[in-house]
Symmetry: C2
Subunit: 202 residues, 2 copies
């Protein structure tokens, strides 16, 4: 691309570093910012800089936080005996949005993936193991995606946790609510039959 | 969405103001920035701020420029008797990338669109009319998209230019190079027959 201005070229190149944003989209975004008030660009730049430089991670669960202990870990109303292990901060947000979970979390920061070069030491698994002794944790819920990487990670954590006197559970796999049976894949459908629950159980 | 941090919430809300970026994508971008070096966020914020505050528009052709006169208008090697009228800065870049045009440009800043409330006075049509007297312009090429809005704008400009002693042309409409005839729409195919050229003409 031949840019008419070095300033716009730099902006496009920086925007194109974001995931899923190519140079054409980056140019569209840059031209959009040029058409809007200067305040919008200033506001965005400021919010991004503040987020990147001021944000911290909870030292207990590794969730994003504005302080040393996140609002979930610091909340005495939550059940601190129940820890839900998730891959990502987005999973915490998704589970929080359901309002169905009153325990606390442990954010791994990813899943074990040899292809992407992510091993157990790149995740916060050791921090989870250190967190369990001298704590009130009684149950660990593994809430990882039902993929090969997620299952591998669940298996690895389960083995690491076997010496602790803990209940280890996994989120239910089955037919999604509102899902049409004929479009569900065979593995999920098969598993939903094997792991059937009593009718009427909430 | 329940955000674990006000800082990330602000960043997501600012990113979600960009066109084509919803809150889920904005969150993905924000979390990506958190995983990368601080320098990347600083570099992006800086490039966007510099672009928004320092960029100017060429006073002759209204193209984006780092100075009062853009690099195309200021280039004595270009043919200043030939003006290509385009809707957008992206069109200038697209035509420049072909290396087929050695004239200069006039960027309208859009096309006439009653539905979007864009009239002739919102575009740089008057600036084009003021540019023609006392200039060496001999030909105006209308290079607008073959849409209803583009055709309306071309028609409007043609009428405004009829008192000047100018050649007014339009970019060729026809079958795109590499296009399969059977998939071309009937209007384009019909027009490509009516406006056929001698075989072997480059």
């Amino acid at each position: 691309m031949n840019f008419p201005s070095k300033l716009i070229e730099n902006a496009v190149e920086e925007l194109a570093k974001l995931p899923g944003i190519g140079r054409k989209t980056a140019l569209r975004l840059a031209l959009h910012l040029l058409k809007t008030e200067t305040e919008q660009t200033v506001g965005m730049a400021d919010a991004l800089l503040k987020m990147r430089t001021l944000i911290t991670y909870c030292k207990t669960c590794h969730n994003i936080s504005d302080s040393e202990t996140c609002s979930i870990c610091g909340n005495p109303g939550r059940d601190h005996s129940l820890v839900c292990v998730v891959s990502d901060i987005r999973d915490v947000m998704a589970i929080e949005n359901t309002s169905q979970f009153k325990g606390v979390y442990h954010v791994l920061g990813g899943v074990i993936s040899p292809i992407e070069g992510i091993g157990p030491s790149d995740l916060t698994i050791n921090s989870l193991l250190e967190r369990i002794p001298n704590s009130e944790i009684k149950e660990v819920i593994l809430a990882l995606s039902p993929t090969i990487e997620g299952d591998t990670t669940s298996f690895y954590i389960t083995r690491k946790l076997k010496d602790f006197n803990l209940k280890i559970t996994s989120i239910a796999r089955g037919v999604p609510v509102g899902g049409e049976l004929e479009y569900i894949d065979e593995i999920t459908l098969g598993r939903s039959i094997v792991e059937r629950s009593n009718y009427g159980r909430s």
